[in-house]
């Protein structure tokens, strides 16, 4: 990492002198001063391998007097340069003092032409039917540097398999592959899932997958972005459209708190009634958030937006009767009437995909009818308020964590809950950061940890508070770390347990002086894309708990699929007199609502989310509308207008202006501010397709990070850690799987991912299984707390600790336990 401390060295590139931080890669350095050295195998996010030989340049060194260190001059007074006898691969060199580079010369030009010629000897040149055609580095560099004609005898070209499924999601065209190894290296070095490899040798060298199932990773799609040719294509997009027919729309992933910046490639499409349709989603560079990566859930999980289950028009229930289609005006009027008549007995529960604008408008509507009861859904994770206080400091970039720094990951399965954080903590680990994982069970993150500490199920807070006693050597490393980031989830915790853990984390960070600074502080691994937005706009899980306990007369459900999530929802919902549902889907809650208002997904509208690192980021309208659905904030604003609360805003941007005026945290978050971009390193995308992938370049904005209270210099007090643990012989811990059957991921059309979603299962310890006479693969019935028992398959695989069973949520239609509870498992 280049820091202000890094020494500068003088380098001459094409006869001009520049200063660069010592140790910078030569290709990157040249690129920074607009000297393009063409590459295929090199990628600034991975170690150089010198395979393709495209980056050959002339390199020399300025000669200095050994004794005095003075530059030796030739007869005409110019520095003497000793040129290396052979061309050198720039990608495998770093800048050093006195280095001289010639990026073009006869020899260099010839070498490049030859490399391109070699690469094309057996290349199929099927650009007209290649997905990469139009945004292909090989195409571009052939135009720029290659010979105009092929000297290879056509019959001598090597023919290979063109449709090799590496897994369910990615195909390999062996003929197009130029053996650059980027995909293999990405999987090994960046993702940490070593599932691709080279097979055979010489001209037979090919990419294969070495996992079963094939290409088993959450990050496979990234390889299609960085593949410099059309060798890797996604099952989702291949042969779907040509790059030049599509527009690139900056958007955000709405699946998890990372908030990956993405880019939707869209075009008018006959498969979508001639409307603008998202054809694919790619990562958009935001070095502080997702770098240039994203996970496969975000990339392929956009089909739900076009699902057949989408609600198409507003509906109102006649007294005691069924729902019938209404105009927006009538539906709005009906909702307004119900709210107006509620006498202030109103509450809102907003789901994790509701945007900042939606939440603010809801808050105002509630206030207008005399309610401050704003619940966040799902009510599983507490402590967003603490994150607002001691969350990671402004300017935090996980890529800056390395030697001397530390990361603690506690009570979360980071791989499943926030994949890109898992990837970024893994690379921090590779750079030398000390990574500690604490949980009651093994998780994938353990593979990238320096220390793994296990605690008894449910006892995260006390375990952490006792860390100094129990694991002094680990505590020591965390306390003394230059920088410390804590990722805390709520796995295996009740809502109170979650609060206790968050408080313990906050206390530790405050006590060890790891708050109020960049690259230090707390990150809540919360569900969904906007839990921090929920907090800043007044929504809390505690309020949800209160709403459930004391049902209001009128409940507004805003994109909260409560029945699918919570086995108890049907019961508590029945105590609410009136439900007004703002929903994408025809879900169970909607079916019992009095007023149903179809709202738009992130795809069809603009808006903003506040990610887990408190970065407010905006997304733009990518896809054509569905039915009569409108943005949730608009529906809410129209109800408020009907209630006489003031004129509805005309745009999301205006709503944000209101937020900026009303909520101090959002100062500086006007849409124009959120849209600001600045140069990022490495430079990717752009016209020269330098590293492959057109949509990388961020033109939509980098967002604005909200300052934490500690950032603002406010003193933050320690709090009491109130331990809370569930007791029982067998405790059922709900876990999260990235690929699940939630409507916002799996809804109908998303068959693409169906094969990747696990069949419902429960994980049970071998000892417990033996005691209960359960064998691996048996069907068992699991009951937990008050939830309806569910039938699932038992996995006796060593994943669950003794006395605890792990029951992933959302793998089946029936809701399973939302939070930890005592339960039973019996063989059926």
């Amino acid at each position: 990492m280049v820091t202000a401390m890094t020494k500068l060295v003088k380098v001459i590139i094409d006869d001009r002198e520049y200063d660069f931080p010592a140790g910078m890669n030569l290709v990157d350095a040249a690129k920074q001063v607009d000297v393009t050295i063409p590459v295929f195998c090199y990628h600034p996010k991975m170690k150089p391998v010198g395979m393709c030989r495209m980056c050959l340049v002339e390199v020399g060194n300025i000669q200095k007097d050994r004794a005095t260190g003075e530059v030796l001059l030739d007869d005409s007074g110019n520095p003497q340069i000793r040129w290396m006898p052979k061309l050198q691969t720039a990608c495998t060199m770093n800048v050093s003092d006195g280095l001289v580079l010639r990026s073009t010369s006869k020899a260099v030009d010839e070498a490049r032409r030859n490399v391109v010629e070699f690469l094309l000897t057996s290349h199929p040149l099927d650009c007209p039917i290649c997905d990469k055609g139009g945004e292909c580095p090989l195409q571009n560099q052939t135009m720029e540097y290659g010979p105009g004609e092929s000297r290879m005898n056509f019959e001598d070209k090597k023919h290979l398999d063109k449709h090799v499924p590496l897994g369910d999601l990615i195909f390999l065209d062996e003929e197009r592959c130029i053996q650059c190894g980027r995909c293999v290296r990405f999987q090994a070095e960046v993702a940490g899932d070593d599932v691709l490899a080279f097979h055979e040798r010489g001209r037979d060298l090919q990419i294969i997958t070495v996992s079963d199932p094939g290409f088993d990773t959450y990050f496979s799609g990234n390889t299609t972005d960085i593949c410099p040719v059309g060798a890797l294509t996604t099952t989702d997009f291949r042969f779907g459209a040509r790059p030049w027919e599509m527009n690139s729309v900056p958007t955000l992933c709405n699946h998890c708190p990372v908030g990956c910046n993405t880019s939707a490639s869209t075009r008018l499409d006959r498969d979508f009634g001639g409307k603008t349709m998202i054809k694919r989603i790619m990562a958009r560079q935001n070095e502080q958030v997702n770098e240039i990566w994203m996970c496969d859930k975000g990339r392929f999980g956009h089909h739900f937006t076009r699902s057949e289950d989408r609600l198409l028009q507003p509906m109102v229930r006649a007294a005691g009767g069924s729902l019938s289609r209404e105009t927006w005006a009538d539906a709005v009027a009906a909702a307004a009437k119900l709210l107006g008549d509620a006498n202030g007995s109103v509450a809102v529960i907003a789901g994790p995909s509701a945007t900042n604008e939606d939440l603010f408008t809801l808050k105002q509507l509630a206030a207008g009818v005399g309610s401050t009861r704003l619940g966040a859904w799902p009510p599983t994770h507490a402590g967003a308020d603490l994150v607002a206080k001691v969350g990671v400091g402004k300017g935090t970039n996980l890529s800056n964590l390395g030697k001397g720094d530390a990361v603690l990951v506690i009570a979360t399965d980071l791989e499943e809950e926030a994949p890109i954080w898992r990837l970024r903590v893994k690379t921090a680990h590779d750079r030398g950061a000390y990574v500690v994982v604490a949980n009651a069970r093994k998780t994938r993150m353990d593979d990238f940890a320096d220390a793994v500490t296990m605690y008894q199920t449910g006892h995260a807070a006390t375990a952490f508070a006792d860390l100094r006693k129990q694991h002094p050597e680990v505590a020591e490393r965390l306390i003394n770390a230059n920088n410390l980031v804590v990722f805390a989830g709520a796995e295996g915790l009740t809502l109170d347990g979650s609060r206790a853990l968050m408080q313990a984390c906050a206390n530790f960070l405050i006590e060890t002086n790891h708050v109020g600074r960049a690259n230090n502080g707390l990150v809540g691994v919360f569900p969904g894309a906007n839990a921090m937005g929920q907090h800043y706009l007044g929504f809390s899980p505690e309020a949800t708990r209160d709403i459930i306990a004391n049902p209001p007369k009128v409940l507004i459900l805003a994109q909260a699929d409560v029945v699918a999530d919570d086995p108890a929802a049907a019961a508590w919902l029945s105590k609410v007199e009136t439900v007004i549902s703002l929903s994408l889907f025809d879900d169970e809650a909607t079916r019992q609502a009095k007023v149903v208002l179809p709202v738009q997904s992130f795809a069809e509208r603009d808006g903003s989310y506040t990610n887990g690192e408190r970065r407010v980021q905006r997304f733009y309208t990518a896809q054509g509308p569905i039915g009569e659905a409108i943005p949730a904030w608009q529906a809410v604003a129209r109800i408020a207008e009907k209630l006489g609360q003031g004129k509805a805003r005309l745009s999301a941007a205006q709503v944000m202006n209101d937020i900026v005026a009303a909520i101090p945290a959002f100062a500086g978050c006007k849409y124009s501010d959120l849209a600001k971009v600045e140069a990022q390193f490495p430079q990717v995308g752009g016209d020269d397709l330098y590293y492959g992938g057109t949509s990388y370049k961020n033109t939509g904005g980098l967002g604005v990070q909200i300052a934490s209270a500690a950032d603002n210099g406010e003193a933050v007090a320690l709090g009491d850690v109130k331990a809370d643990a569930v007791k029982g012989d067998l405790i059922v811990v709900p876990t999260v799987r990235l690929y699940n059957r939630e409507r916002v991921f799996q809804a109908s059309e998303a068959q693409l991912m169906a094969a990747r979603v696990a069949a419902p299962y429960v994980e049970i310890n071998a000892e417990d299984a033996a005691r209960l006479a359960i064998h691996d693969g048996d069907m068992v019935q699991v009951s937990a707390g008050a939830a309806q028992p569910v039938k699932v398959r038992a996995h006796v695989n060593g994943a669950a600790p003794k006395g605890t069973v792990l029951l992933p949520r959302n793998l089946q239609q029936t809701a399973t336990a939302l939070t930890i509870a005592a339960g039973t498992v019996t063989k059926v």
Partner: protein, 437 residues
């Protein structure tokens, strides 16, 4: 003309492969002597002897050892017994017949750099030899020469064998290290070099030497560097094993002092050209070095002394691993080029573009030339393709693969011309042993 057996001592002492016989004839005395010296003294002795690496590049062995940073706690010696160069079969004879001399030499090297272990990497076909070596290592261990507290000196060093999966490229030192680590055998980017931290086996500083190189070391320690330098020439000290194959009456390994002439080797030792025919060409460094044109048995070029310096200066080729493939007047050089190219196409690791694509391209085009389907311009094409491969690849195999094309076309243009136009049946050499069909 006589051979001189510093390495092939089995020729003078039967059963020297056995530990007891080896020890009875002064075996492991050199190791004991070295263990009584400071490691740097051992390095200095080897430096002073001018011993050069026998693996092909001829790098001064003592200098190579001195690159190893003494401060690193973990270091390795790796013995290169991949022996895959076309026409090379000398190391096999050493490990089969005088294995203890290799083990002793490797342990001296290990002591000199204070290595913790020696790995002997053998080509994939050397299974039987590897098992036999394992038995020899155990013999030496029983004798106190391997493992803990070697010869009571307090120095510990393990010796392991490892068999590759059968790839020429795994003889290239950095690919060898990858393979030894259990990875795909492809060369590494350098720097860091094997001697540096980060560049060697498992990232630790490592000396890699050829079998023959190390087998010289005990003799040097016992007899001193000056005695060694008295054999051969200043720049090419000692004996060298020449693997003579092809169109000679007595193909075999011959160990002779450096400076022996090509004529002495081929005619005095190897019995002359097969069937009394005339010599046409010589590949002195197997398929990977430039071919030498020799205009019959009276050509004065045959009087060139076999040293690194003379072969380079007087023949335009290289001594390399001294794998002398002899080609007589009946052999079509185009056929030789196509044969050798098939080898390199098969053995290219595929990591870098010019070699991966170039060897395939050359091979396909040569096939067409051999079938009589090519145009004259195809000969120019392959010459140009080969030149485009030179100097731009990740490892030397790319250069090796280009050499045969460039030099066969340059030295034997008429052989290529004869294939243009009329369809021809491939011209096979008269003796099957030639060029190892």
């Amino acid at each position: 003309m006589k051979t001189m057996n510093i390495i092939y001592r089995e020729k003078d002492i039967p059963n020297i492969r056995e530990y007891d016989v080896y020890v009875a004839n002064g075996g492991y005395d050199a190791l004991k002597k070295a263990l009584g010296q400071k490691p740097t003294e051992v390095i200095d002795t080897v430096k002073a002897s001018n011993l050069r690496g026998r693996g092909g590049a001829g790098f001064p062995t003592g200098v190579k050892w001195s690159f190893i940073p003494q401060s690193e706690p973990i270091k390795y010696v790796v013995v290169n017994c991949d022996e895959s160069e076309t026409g090379t079969f000398k190391d096999r004879q050493i490990i089969e017949n005088n294995p203890h001399q290799l083990i002793e030499g490797a342990l001296i090297a290990a002591y000199a750099i204070q290595a913790t272990a020696v790995y002997i990497y053998l080509r994939g076909e050397f299974w039987d030899q590897a098992f036999d070596l394992d038995a020899r290592i155990e013999e030496a261990r029983k004798g106190g020469m391997v493992g803990k507290n070697i010869a009571g000196s307090g120095y510990n060093c393990e010796v392991y064998t490892h068999v590759g999966a059968g790839a020429y490229i795994c003889g290239e030192e950095s690919a060898l290290l990858e393979s030894l680590e259990g990875k795909l055998g492809q060369p590494r980017v350098r720097p860091p070099f094997p001697a540096n931290k980060g560049g060697g086996l498992y990232g630790e500083p490592t000396v890699i030497n050829n079998v023959e190189t190390l087998a010289n070391v005990p003799w040097i320690i016992t007899n001193g560097p000056d005695a060694f330098k008295k054999i051969g020439t200043e720049q090419s000290a000692g004996t060298k094993i020449f693997c003579v194959s092809g169109n000679v009456e007595k193909p075999a390994n011959y160990e002779v002092p450096m400076g022996t002439t090509i004529r002495e080797l081929l005619f005095d030792l190897a019995g002359g050209i097969s069937g009394g025919r005339q010599i046409k060409a010589l590949l002195p460094s197997g398929g990977s070095g430039p071919i030498i044109r020799i205009n019959g048995n009276d050509d004065p070029i045959l009087d060139t002394p076999c040293t690194y310096e003379d072969i380079a200066a007087k023949t335009g080729s290289i001594l390399g691993s001294a794998s002398f493939i002899v080609i007589d007047e009946t052999v079509d050089i185009t056929w030789v080029a196509s044969k050798v190219t098939k080898f390199f196409k098969h053995e290219s690791c595929g990591k870098c573009t010019p070699c991966r694509e170039g060897t395939y391209w050359l091979d396909k085009t040569l096939d067409r030339i051999m079938r009589g389907e090519a145009k004259e311009s195809d000969v120019d094409l392959i010459a140009n393709v080969a030149r485009n491969m030179q100097g731009v690849t990740l490892c030397a195999l790319g250069d090796f693969a280009a050499n045969p094309i460039i030099h066969t076309i340059k030295n034997f243009p008429e052989d290529f011309k004869s294939h243009i136009g009329a369809a021809k049946t491939p011209a096979a050499p008269k003796t099957a042993a030639a060029a190892g069909d």
